[in-house]
Structures are given as structure tokens and as C-alpha cells.
Symmetry: C2
Subunit: 315 residues, 2 copies
């Protein structure tokens, strides 16, 4: 086996992402050992019970010997957690995060900087709608993108720190890209943040339709709605923090989305089939671009995988 990229990593926050990093670091030999800390005592015992790594009872103990500390907490918690972690870290160690918003994450981490540690914000474009330590699994990052947004001011050893962190994520199976934090936030606002907001919203709207019973919404969800509920099942605290911390980019996308939707609404009201057909055809072509770019495996059958009948596929 190849040498580990880091002798020891520390993971702060043992949710889906933290737990998956722990599993992957062990499975792919990316770290010699894994220490973990979570602010919740319950989560700490659950993480210990399923053998995620060396679970410490305080944050200082978890990060003290780590060559790389990964903060896997909601974006809104980064600043206090970083402030507590940095003074306990070894000189020359790397501090990174996995937050979905990078301008704010960079400033939260940079606020804790004391010149002894290398701060390299990051964001894995991977996840499921599950939460908690039990949801983590080793292959989560395989074939996913991992975006690093290195800080502009780079001290001695910084470039090497970025390279090592890149090697770590590559070892977990990710393809690493480097990007400006502001650009990251604009791109993710449209590819991730707005889709999640829309999904949360449509599910809430469905809940409130008096003319349709909730049971019917659930029952006939295979018609398209189910895909939205899946996205809308993501962690509420994480997403609250995303929207609070990427406000401008999200509001910009949202404004355009609403304008475009108003145009479709008007086309429906006035029976303008040509506008509907043209817009739908345009939308379809981007799906083709995604398939062509190898970003998806192709067909999904949205009317199936309902485990209510028998599973016999023969006549």
C-alpha cells in the first residue's frame, strides 16, 4: 500500500460528510489515523460505537496531533470552531473545511489564523440527503469534484500545503479543482443552492394545498415530485447557513428564476404553446450536454423502485 498522505487527520463534526471522510481516509489509506470530535455528546458516542476513529471528548485533544484538521460543520459554525481549533493545532498543520459557501468560509477560517497553520478552504460536490455519523460511507467522494479555494495571501509552505490537501482528496477518489471563492459561490448558487431552495419550497407548497390531501401527494409522488422531496430532505441547519451566507448570489439567481417562471406562467394563462415548446426544448438540450459530458449515467426511471408489489420480473 502507498504511504498515507497525512499521518493523522482530525475531523470536527461527525455528520454525513465528516463520517464519510473518516471511512474513506481509512479505506483508501489516505491517513495513518483518524481522530474525531463532535460538539454533541450523543453524536460522539454514536461515532465511537460504529468505529469511525479515535473519538475525543474535547476538540483540543482531537486536533492536537493532526497534520490536517477538517471542519465538517455548518458554515455558520465555522468561525467559533476554527477559533477554538487553531491555537491547539501543530505548527505547519493544514486547516480546511467542507462548507458549501466559500467566501464566508474563507473569512471565518482566516479570522482564526495565527500564522502557524495553513488555511485552505474546500468543498466536496458530493452528498446524499441523509445526515448523521451512520450515513457516512467510504465511496462518497469517488468520481466527485472537490473544489479548493486557496487564500490569496500565501505564506511559506502554503503551496505545498495545498498540494498535500489535493493529494488527500485525490486519494479519496475525488477530482480536485482550484477556483476563486467568489466564483465558486456564484457557480454553486445556480447549480446547488437555488435547486435546493426550490425543492424545499415546492414540498412546502404541496403540504399546504387544501384541495389535495397530503396522503395523495405522497402516494402519487412518482410523477416528478419525489425527486424534489429527496433533495428537500437535506439537513435544515446546513442549508439555512448556506442561504444566510451566500445571500447575494442566491438572490440574483432567484430573481432571474422568478422572472423566467412568470414568463412561463403567462404563456400557460394565454395558451401560448409555442413559447412553452421552445423553452422546454431548450431545457432538454442541457440534459443532453450533461449526458455527453459523462456527468450522469443516463436514464432514471421515476415511476419505479416502489417496494409495494412482488419483485418477480417474469410473467
Amino acid at each position: 500500500m502507498t504511504d498515507p498522505v497525512f499521518n493523522q487527520i482530525a475531523i470536527v463534526g461527525a455528520g454525513l460528510i465528516g463520517a464519510s471522510i473518516a471511512r474513506a481516509a481509512v479505506a483508501y489509506g489516505a491517513a495513518g489515523s483518524v481522530s474525531l470530535y463532535d460538539a454533541s455528546e450523543t453524536v460522539r458516542s454514536r461515532a465511537a460505537a460504529i468505529g469511525l476513529g479515535d473519538v475525543a471528548d474535547d476538540l483540543g485533544a482531537a486536533v492536537a496531533d493532526a497534520d490536517c484538521v477538517l471542519l465538517c460543520v455548518p458554515v455558520g459554525a465555522l468561525e467559533p470552531v476554527a477559533a477554538e481549533a487553531v491555537p491547539k493545532m501543530k505548527a505547519g498543520a493544514i486547516l480546511t473545511d467542507v462548507g458549501s459557501v466559500k467566501v464566508q468560509a474563507a473569512s471565518a477560517l482566516a479570522a482564526a489564523a495565527d500564522g502557524r497553520v495553513h488555511i485552505v478552504p474546500g468543498h466536496p460536490i458530493a452528498g446524499t440527503e441523509q445526515s448523521g455519523p451512520e450515513a457516512g460511507f467510504a465511496t462518497l467522494f469517488r468520481n466527485a469534484w472537490h473544489i479548493l479555494t486557496p487564500l490569496a495571501e500565501q505564506g511559506e509552505g502554503y503551496a505545498e500545503a495545498v498540494s498535500r490537501l489535493e493529494a488527500f482528496w485525490t486519494r479519496l477518489g475525488a477530482t480536485v479543482e482550484t477556483m476563486d471563492a467568489a466564483r465558486h459561490d456564484r457557480v454553486l448558487a445556480i447549480t446547488s443552492h437555488l435547486p435546493h431552495l426550490i425543492a424545499f419550497n415546492i414540498v412546502a407548497t404541496a403540504f399546504d394545498m387544501e384541495t389535495v390531501e397530503e396522503g395523495e401527494v405522497v402516494k402519487y409522488s412518482a410523477g416528478g415530485f419525489r425527486d424534489f422531496t429527496r433533495i428537500a430532505a437535506s439537513d435544515p441547519v446546513m442549508w439555512r447557513d448556506v442561504f444566510l451566507n451566500n445571500k447575494d448570489a442566491v438572490l440574483e439567481c432567484l430573481g432571474r428564476f422568478s422572472e423566467d417562471l412568470a414568463a412561463l406562467q403567462r404563456a400557460i394563462r394565454w395558451g401560448d404553446g409555442e413559447t412553452l415548446f421552445n423553452e422546454f426544448t431548450r431545457a432538454r438540450s442541457i440534459r443532453k450536454a450533461i449526458i455527453d459530458a459523462g456527468q450522469d449515467s443516463g436514464a432514471v426511471n421515476f415511476g419505479r423502485n416502489l417496494p409495494k408489489g412482488d419483485k418477480d420480473e417474469s410473467a
Copy 2:
């Protein structure tokens, strides 16, 4: 093997749904033979080439000996197609459809009624984002719902016709429900039509963001956007007809959706984290209801299945 439900069925329109019915009817022994017709000569030759059934060169020949004629065409095409089919059909045969809007479908089919055939509109809650005869497959309807919306005025033999059609869809693996057409249209407006409209819209909005390159939208689509492009890849003609023919119910849902979205937008602008958290938590609970009701198989990993790295899962 059990006797077929119908000695012969005729399928008009050899797209995803028509082709899947043809495949399923043969695979599960639901029909003794299958005749097909499609208005497009190209589609007819493609259907014949892949052995979907007896492809006829005119609609009259396809439906003449059928005990059940299934119109698998966009909702907007139902009226002229039914008008052409009914006079050629056997007395006592069943005429049904698979349209996503049922009030309009019922009136389109009823307009062709001559008292000789039994008209029973229907809608399978199943599909993929693929189109065309090659996209059809036998298991599409297994474990899916099939909704029948029988007409209010029922002549002699009508109840038996409904039962036989129910037996046919049951044989294909579906669970059949009977529902009032107007109720169907209200339920599907929120569970299917609005989700598709939103998906088409968000994809179009992403296209037009000058601050983000199209390549980046495709590249980072795993963050949530990809699920929308999948839905938005559905057939533009079919969906145009759905929105033109279920206008009132869709506009009602859309109005509520936009109101709710404006509230979330306001919460983001004013940094109201509590409102965001509460709404996201509420949305999450409906996902749980869907899982509990057995309407989905559970986790989806939205950051994976990107075939760009190697597939070796070992370290």
C-alpha cells in the same frame, strides 16, 4: 400461463409509453397480439425494426380487430386521433388513453363516442425522461400506480369494460386506482405538472446566467441541479399539451408556489434564519412520509455515478 386479458390490443403512438405497453403486454401475457400505429412513418419503421408488434400502415387497420385500443399520443392529439379510431373499432371494444390530464382527455375521447365502444380514460404514473419506441421496456409499469377515470355516463357493459382494463394494467404490474377526472388533475398538478414546470424553468434560468459559464453548470451539476435536468429532459410536446390542458389547476399551484418562494426570498434577504430553518424542517418531514409509505427505496447519492475516474473501489 394465464389467458391473456385481451385477445388483441392496438397501440396508437409508439413513444416511450406505447412501446412499453407493447413490451409489457407480451412479456406478461396480457394480450394475445399487439398491433401498432404511429403517425410518423419513421417511428413506424423503427417500431417494426425492434419487433414491437404488428405495425400497421394506417390507423384503421391497426385498431380494426382490437378488443382494446390504447391512445398513447400527446393530450392535444387525442381528439382527432379518437375521432379517426372509433368508427373503425369493433363494437364493444374499449378505448383508453395514457394522458397526464384527464378532464380534457375524457372530453376529447367522449367527443368521438358513437355508443358502440367503451371509453375509459387512464393515466399510468410511470415514465422516464427518454422518448421514442426504443426507450420502451416491459417493466416500466411494475409497482407503479395506474389511475382510471371512468366516465359518469355508463352504458351497458361499461362496468365490465372498466374491470377488464383494470385487469390488463394489473397484469402489467401496476396498482390500479379509480378517481374522478377533476380530482386527478388537481393532484397531478402539484405532484407532477408543477415539478416539471419548475425543472424546465430552473434549467432555462441556468442557461442564461452570464456570470456562470454553461460548462460550469454542467460540470458541477451533481450539487442538485442534475436532478432537475433529468426531469427537464422529458418530451416537450407532451408537456406543452399538459400545461395547455390543465391550465387552471397548474396556475393555482403556481400562484401558491410563487407566494411561498417570495416568503423564502424575503427571509434570505433579511437574514431570517429561523423562518428558513422551520420551512426546511417541514419540507424534510414529507420525505420521511414518502419513505415510510414505501414510495421510495431510500438514499440517492447525488454526488456520484460520474463515469470519469476509474471504477476500482479498493484502495
